[in-house]
Structure formats: structure tokens, C-alpha cells
Amino acid sequence: MATDQAHVPAAGELTESGERRRDFIYIATGAFAAVGAATVAWPLINQMNPSADVLALASIDVDLAAVQPGQAIKISWRGLPVFARNLTQAEQDAANKVPVASLRDPQTLAERTKEGHTNWLITLGVCTHLGCVPLGAGEGETKGDFGGYFCPCHGSQYDTAARIRSGPAPKNLEVPQYAFKSPTSVTIG
């Protein structure tokens, strides 16, 4: 018995029924310890999720009254830039002319805006390639070959509906959840 490594436990031999009872208690103890450890692990992991104050900032109200057609503003939402762009009629027409089937991420302008507010293109200003902020929202910035946005990091080009047209980005600029409170103000998030 001393040389039998697989049979380490305690001393002496036990009867078969004793063995079973003993096993039950060991297993129950071990199971409780395992469940306890798992229960404690959860708060240790969950503490890294956003805290209550961060979640509370998750929705913001934005006033769009001052944005003229052809202009855009940048807003910070959850620490991310949001582009709110007042499209001119020409820009809307350009976006609508593109055959949807030819796009990498097929979406129409209407799907990317709110009904009755198709001139307001509100997207995250985060390139879907690796997260840089594309140019094109600020005054005087290049809008790229397709008149929308241009990401200087790896050369992704977005059109006037902020859809990906060329370059490495896989998706169109993401449209966040938002709702119009009045014709010129929105709640994002």
C-alpha cells in the first residue's frame, strides 16, 4: 500500500461501504469548494465591466440646429466620436445612385437614416477596419474619392452615406441607436 501511489488516501483499509461513504463526503466537500471558488470568481471578473457611472453616461442629447447642409459635427459619445452630417441634396442623390448590390456592405441611404430625416447621416466616427477616426467631418478635411470619409490610417474610403467603397475596412461606418426628439435634436444611445 505504501508503494501504491494511486491509492494515497489515509491509513488502513476500509470496508467497501465505509469507502463509499468516505468518498461521498470527500466529493461533497470538493464540490462545495469548487462551487464556492466559482461563485467568488464572478465578482472578480465582473468588476472589470463598465461601472454604474459609465453606464449612466451612455445616452446624450445633441442639438443639430446649427449644422448647415454640407456641414458635419463631431460629438463624443461613450468616449467615441460620432459624426452628425447634414447631407446636401446632391450628396443624397449621389448616395442613392449607387447600385446597392455592388457594395461590399449593401445598405441603402434610407436604411442608414431615419424616415423623414434622410438628410441627417449620424454614424460612429470609427473606421471599421481598426478603429481610427476617418477624416471628412471637420472643416477643410479631405472627404476621399467618394465624397464621404477617408481614413488616413490604412486608406479606407467611405461614400456620402458613409458606406465602405474601397480600402481594407469590411463594414460601413456603424449607425448608433438614436431617435429624433424634435426636427433638430436627437438622443443618441
Binding site: A11, G12, E13, A28, F32
Partner: protein
């Protein structure tokens, strides 16, 4: 020689320390005039709250009343900087109510066009701001006394909520011979007896309750003490609940651990104690 030094060193060092202490101990003491506030100071009154004890919870209706007292009375001078309006959901306020409450609390910001300091209506995500912009302003408005922030008051004083209740209901006339300086008030529950704050809850019905509770001074003091217990320890109920589960679980686990321990040792300790000799 070295050995002798090593032998004597502890006695010498020990002797010096002991002597230095005993000289101090036998030195006659100067007569000390007892602090007169000690004789007047009173321990917090015995009063119970629903949040007391291991199963304590918060009475939401009471917290709402207490919040009303804070808003209408205390907040004139006392800040509540650690608490956010969103936290009021725990008192049972709806999101719309919280928005409305937050709106009335002006928050400092900068004017978007000029960059000048400005004020904007509060949002649920904001914390309570004010009533004073800074400590200097607070002192200037209060005869050089600083009204402390109340967020953590019940944890920052012995006996917490009982202290707050006792202080609010403890104003009295000074006993004969006790001089209360001008601008101060007599309150034996306050640490230094003379308190700058005049009795804030002075008359019945000072705050109008909407839930039918009679707003006596005693009731208002109790309610605001309960509210301040919540502001200091908003997770109390969660803590009590989690603790209950944790302790029960640990007791069972420890019990099983004890049985395992007894079994592992059965052959060695307990059987030999009973005289039953196990054989291998």
C-alpha cells in the same frame, strides 16, 4: 571578554529602557483641569432604524421622506457630493421623476460659444452639486463655519444614524453656568457642545409629507437620518443579502470539511484514542 559583553548586553539595554519608563511612570503628574465639555456631552439616543441589524433593509417610503427633508431643509447649506441623481432609483423614484429632480440642480459647465463659466440643468448622470461653489464661499455664507458634506455623515460619526437623529432633536437650553458664544447653539450631542448650525428642524409640518405620515420634528429627524444612512451605504441591503448566502454556504462547506478531516484522520487519531488498534 566578548562573551561577557554578549551576556550583559541584554540586561544593560533592557535596564535602560525599563528605567526610562519607570522614571516617567513615577513622575508626579500635573493637575489636569477636566474638559468641561465631557461632563455635558451625551451619547447618541437609543432609536432604531429598519436598516439596523444583520437583516436590515431600507424603508423606501421613509427614504423618500428623508430625501424631501434633505432637499427642502438641509440642502440649503449642506452638499451631498458623493450621490448621483441616478442613484435615487434605489429610493423608488421613476426615471422621469429622477430627470425632473436632476433638472432643478444647476451644474457648472462652460458656455459653448464663449468658453465662459456657465450653468446648465442637471442630468440623471450628474452628482448633486452645491449649494456652494467651494469651501470659501461656504464659510463666507455661514459666519466662517463650514457645513460638512452629508454623503458619508452616518459613517463618519460614532453611532451614525442615531447620532444624526440625536443631533437634530438634541437642541436645548444651555445649563446654568455654561456660556454659549454668540452665533453658536447649545447641543449636548455635538462633540464640542457648541454648534454653529441652528436647529434646522424647528416646527411640526416644516416639510409637507405626501404619504400621510405626520411630519413631527421627531419623524423628520428620523427620516432624514434614515436617508443619510442610505447615502453613506447605498449597498447595505445587497451586502446583507449576499452575506446571508455566503455565511450559510461557508457553514455547510466548513461542516463538510470537518467531516472529511475526521475521516482522513480516523485511523490515526480517533481510533487510537478509543483504544481500537487498527491493523494494516
Amino acid at each position: 571578554m566578548g562573551r561577557l559583553i554578549a551576556f550583559l548586553a541584554p540586561f544593560a539595554i533592557g535596564g535602560v529602557f525599563v528605567l526610562a519608563l519607570l522614571v516617567g511612570a513615577f513622575m508626579p503628574r500635573d493637575a489636569v483641569t477636566p474638559d468641561p465639555t465631557l461632563a455635558l456631552h451625551k451619547e447618541a439616543k437609543e432609536v432604531s432604524f429598519q436598516s439596523d441589524g444583520p437583516f436590515g433593509t431600507y424603508d423606501r417610503a421613509q427614504l423618500q421622506r428623508g430625501f424631501k427633508v434633505y432637499r427642502e431643509v438641509c440642502s440649503a447649506c449642506h452638499s451631498l457630493h458623493q450621490v448621483a441623481f441616478r442613484d435615487l432609483a434605489a429610493l423608488g423614484f421613476t426615471q422621469a421623476e429622477i430627470k425632473a429632480i436632476a433638472k432643478t440642480n444647476e451644474q457648472p459647465t462652460i458656455d459653448e460659444k464663449t468658453g465662459e463659466p456657465a450653468m446648465r440643468p442637471g442630468l440623471p448622470s450628474d452628482k448633486f452639486y452645491g449649494p456652494y461653489a467651494n469651501e470659501v464661499a461656504a464659510r463666507a455664507a455661514n459666519n466662517n463655519a463650514l457645513p460638512p458634506d452629508l454623503s458619508l455623515m452616518t459613517k463618519a460619526r460614532e453611532h451614525g444614524n442615531r447620532y444624526v437623529y440625536s443631533l437634530l432633536t438634541g437642541y436645548a437650553n444651555a445649563p446654568a453656568g455654561w456660556k454659549v458664544p454668540d452665533g453658536l447653539n447649545y447641543n449636548p450631542y455635538f462633540k464640542s457642545i457648541n454648534i454653529a448650525m441652528p436647529a434646522p428642524l424647528a416646527s411640526e409640518g416644516q416639510v409637507e409629507y405626501t404619504d400621510g405620515t405626520k411630519p413631527t420634528v421627531d419623524q423628520m429627524a428620523k427620516d432624514v437620518a434614515a436617508f443619510l444612512t442610505w447615502t453613506a451605504e447605498p449597498k447595505l441591503v445587497e451586502r446583507h443579502r449576499t452575506g446571508f448566502g455566503a455565511v450559510i454556504f461557508l457553514l455547510i462547506m466548513t461542516g463538510l470539511g470537518y467531516l472529511s478531516y475526521r475521516r482522513v484522520w480516523a485511523e490515526i487519531k480517533y481510533k487510537t484514542k478509543k483504544g481500537e488498534v487498527a491493523s494494516a
